[in-house]
Subunit: 381 residues, 2 copies
């Protein structure tokens, strides 16, 4: 743990005081806090900045020690000196998404109008809103155009949204293991998670802040259900199979008898310490609403018409949450839009979570793409 | 509704008063109630009886009006005069499984030792225990050998267990959409469901009977999560896609905005009226424990060595809960054991639930198998 973490700076800034953030739902947020981490140094012509977008339960501590868990950041594998996102070469920015719970404005933050936490009075947000907030951060940082916007899962959705909404402000985009619209099955899994949270009496209609009770049981169940979808059946079989936990023979009971049960319970229990249940509701909802097809009259290619952004789309063969077929819809639309696009389906049995893991083909793919894109932008080696 | 339901008889019998039921977990149940329905007439030489085994949340009312919901039985499509399981020709028996909640002994029934419902003092049961109890019913009915044992999902597990444990008492077996052992992923989904039930404060450690409070919220969440696994992504996309429920534009809220959410909530809410939460815990656990491989030293073929039972194995191409690959493991073992086996993978996008639906290729397959098997047993047309 914590070997080879890059030097990082943790920041928080108030944005939108002059031009407030106008949300898709119609509500205006007067001003927002945005928490972000940076790694590396912005070059003189501000052309080497990469925006890393985190997934549903991620945060800005992409390559820093996470303050609650004390663990290395979720993409420490990717970000650092000499790594794929080379902090000797690039300036890496990772911000907590709008609606999050690690410092950026979200349901657990204080509503300046009432002096109390927003709770369910927080407006519904979308992926486009998250990206609008990030664009305010880009302005604040004085960066005209990201060298790249990269992310997996919901991070990939943000990369796509960036390219669709602000093509001139994104030199390249690397959406990994995502889709241009959330599928019915994925909405269904999210709804199960939300219902699990809301069924917990400690949720209290979302007004649990300061009550001394939090919907930890419901949130743990939500996390457990979601976690299954992040892995593949093959990975679960390989890692756990029907192996028993700490015993040689069946105990015939409801304790975590199989290793896979013990693992899932661990995932659930550990999650609730670091994540806010209402944020989980809002961010899953934002993913549900994501539909770049309908945003562009049903024709995804329209979203990218005339784009100069270079794209690298990566999918995983065993990802059943965002299967290759959905990633290919993005690729087909980009090709139709005459965009510059690379696409690789990485063969792996690790499932959706492969983007967080040491998956050599993914690393090689992204490395090659960034190297050639850096040359085309004239970034020094 | 209720068109063309066969004439049915509903029965309840006390079994095991002389030779009590010895469970896998080591506990002995002094005597058990068994609730079952029959359709058609047993012939003179008692050779036309078919045992229909129900799935996790099924019951004995396979082709009768379900007393709680008032709906037609779950296999009314299959069972009746002139149907595949022809009640003019066969004597159909369907019993509520051990551990169930529709009259057969289970956690909601009164423990004769205490005069109170068993709750979590009910012993852990296995698929083999369910089949042992059914064998007691077979004895009681004076049937030497079932003409066939048929079922889907957990019903298919019972059919396999019957053939493995009592080969001379099963003339033919039709396991549909099942596996010879429960996979890590399926154990994981079951564990999520159980945790959802147990997280509900109204569960009260399983002692909710008579308290006026039942863990309906937790059980509904469990049902919702499970229900997703019964369908395929293609079926969800075809049925619901991203269609909105009762509105033309996004409402930006946490109500059931998408049709798929509304459908899932309906599945959850309706389930809790007809099913006992503790039964859900026990029966999912029984499925988790099912492992015909390890029961036979890791070699599934050993389970069927020397069998004279005729088999018809059916899987569905879009079933990701019990994928064709797992059904094929059964077929390969049967071939290795030199058994008489037919196998059909039915092409359908309906997912696991296809066995409950009007799936023409499944109906044709089972019909053809039963016709030829009836001829070989000398049953009159």
């Amino acid at each position: 743990m914590s070997v080879n973490l890059p030097k990082s700076d943790s920041h928080s800034v108030i944005l939108g005081t002059e031009t407030p953030l106008q949300l898709d739902c119609g509500v205006t947020l007067g001003s927002i806090s945005m928490a972000y981490c940076t790694y590396g140094t912005l070059n003189a012509d501000r052309s080497n900045a990469i925006l890393v977008c985190h997934a549903l339960t991620g945060d800005q501590f992409a390559a820093s020690r996470q303050p609650v868990t004390g663990k290395d950041g979720w993409w420490s594998m990717m970000i650092g000196p000499g790594k794929i996102l080379d902090t000797n070469r690039y300036y890496i920015v990772c911000s907590n998404v709008l609606g999050g719970c690690m410092g950026t404005t979200g349901p657990s933050e204080i509503d300046p109008k009432t002096g109390k936490p927003y709770g369910l009075t927080f407006p519904i947000i979308t992926i486009a809103d998250m990206v609008r907030a990030q664009a305010m951060l880009q302005d604040y940082l004085g960066i005209d155009s990201w060298f790249s916007v990269i992310g997996g899962s919901m991070g990939g959705m943000q990369a796509l949204q960036w390219a669709a909404a602000y093509p001139e402000r994104v030199y390249s985009a690397i959406p990994i293991a995502c889709a241009a619209r959330h599928s019915a099955q994925n909405i269904a899994f999210h709804e199960v998670g939300r219902q699990a949270v809301m069924a917990d009496p400690n949720w209290q209609g979302g007004e649990y802040y300061g009550s001394g009770r939090k919907p930890t049981s419901g949130l743990a169940v939500a996390r457990m259900a979601a976690h299954i979808t992040y892995l593949s059946e093959a990975a679960l079989h390989r890692k756990f199979g029907r192996n028993l936990q700490d015993r040689d023979s069946l105990a015939y009971g409801f304790d975590a008898e199989f290793q896979v049960e013990s693992y899932l319970r661990y995932q659930g229990i550990n999650f609730v310490d670091r994540f806010d249940a209402n944020s989980y509701l809002y961010i899953t909802r934002a993913m549900d609403y994501f539909d770049l097809f309908s945003d562009h009259g049903g024709n995804l290619a329209t979203a990218f018409e005339g784009t100069k952004t270079r794209f690298c789309v990566v999918s995983f063969s065993s990802d059943w949450l965002f299967p290759t077929s959905e990633n290919k819809q993005i690729v087909h639309a980009l090709i139709t839009a005459a965009a510059n696009v690379s696409f690789v389906e990485v063969e792996t049995d690790k499932g959706h979570d492969a983007f967080l893991l040491d998956t050599p083909d993914m690393l090689r793919t992204i490395d090659g793409f960034l190297q050639s894109t850096a040359r085309s932008r004239g970034l020094a080696e």
